[in-house]
Symmetry: C2
Subunit: 216 residues, 2 copies
């Protein structure tokens, strides 16, 4: 199974590509924005493709040609200009979803924000609300397709070393999670068809990633 | 028929409320952001309600209580901060659409941008693209409801005095139109059920507004 990782050059993306390349059944294709970012992926034996999320649907669909699954883990992040929030976190995500349809890719794993429900937009501090709104509309768009989607809502991201232990549920108390463990959860979701059509929150916990994800 | 005008204090909104109050069959309720904006509307005999588009759906639904139609002509405009683009032009519009459902209002007239199709986002200059994207997603959200919608896509807005003469079609060459004439087109759309379930572009032309709108 070939997996296009959109946003591969982010920290979650790099961990994910490494996990995929270490596995037997999966192989990664890293979608990156600049050719200079390719060496990390070449070193782990992954194919790369240079496409910008501000490119059009057809260009993104070209990158998705021949893959079985798309993982969207790109993000302008909550602290970029709000123009990028709408152009990358919302429109870039929607274009990738539409590109999946064009390329005939059925499986789509979205890395979302911890809580993207309507009330979370309302409750967010003004500087953060546009990001939550962008993620909300991207998630809504995905849920209204007939793709085999999984939407992962990680808690506050840290750069700590992963523990491999998490807690997952449709609704959790806010918590943190290392990016490395988010990548493990994505990897486990790719291996686990019971996550299709589901969305869940995930934070650090006491259950192994594999067991937690199988329970969904 | 009572019409809630969202964004009443804008120039299109003020013209529209005046046209409605001058008519026999319609009456306007002006949704405004600040109590200080009320006097214009009181002078033309229109009811006012003070609600901010950053308020929640229930609050907006409260403003829509007892009305038959909602006209959304609010806008942060293309030159505000991009946080307002997503929070007002997209999320404020979607909340108003959801508020219509909550309040049982079936008819919804959206004032959009001239071209909000996918390709227009791609073709827009970078500083304008987030606004086009916000309007695109708001329009898409509306089209996916079962509300009796009309989406009006006016050309470049001017403050010139209206001519009462326009050209309408699903696709036109880019042109301009006075805000006063946009208000006339909205008013005619309210009077004309053939506009339900339709969207059209409009610029200054040679046909009377009433005749042009009836032809849709």
């Amino acid at each position: 199974m070939k997996v296009l990782v959109v946003g591969a050059n982010g920290q979650i993306g790099k961990h994910l590509v490494s996990f995929i390349q270490d596995s037997d059944r999966l192989e990664a294709k890293a979608m990156i924005r600049k050719q200079e970012q390719a060496s990390f992926f070449e070193n782990v034996g992954a194919e790369t493709v240079v496409v910008d999320l501000e490119d059009d649907i057809e260009t993104i669909a070209g990158a998705a040609e021949g893959v079985d699954t798309i993982v969207f883990t790109a993000g302008s992040g909550p602290h970029t200009g709000k123009d990028k929030t709408i152009m990358i976190d919302l429109d870039g995500a929607v274009k990738t979803i539409e590109a999946a349809k064009v390329a005939g890719v059925k499986r789509f794993v979205m890395i979302s924000s911890f809580d993207t429900r309507r009330q979370a937009i309302q409750d967010a501090p003004p500087s953060f609300a546009p990001y939550v709104a962008a993620k909300h509309y991207a998630d809504e768009w995905l849920k209204r397709t007939d793709l085999d989607y999984t939407i992962i809502h990680p808690g506050g991201l840290t750069n700590d070393k992963g523990t491999g232990k998490v807690k997952v549920a449709s609704e959790l108390d806010r918590g943190q999670i290392p990016r490395e463990d988010v990548a493990r959860v994505i990897f486990a979701s790719l291996e686990n068809e019971s996550t299709i059509g589901k969305e869940f929150q995930v934070v650090t916990g006491t259950t192994s990633v594999e067991e937690a994800v199988s329970s969904i």
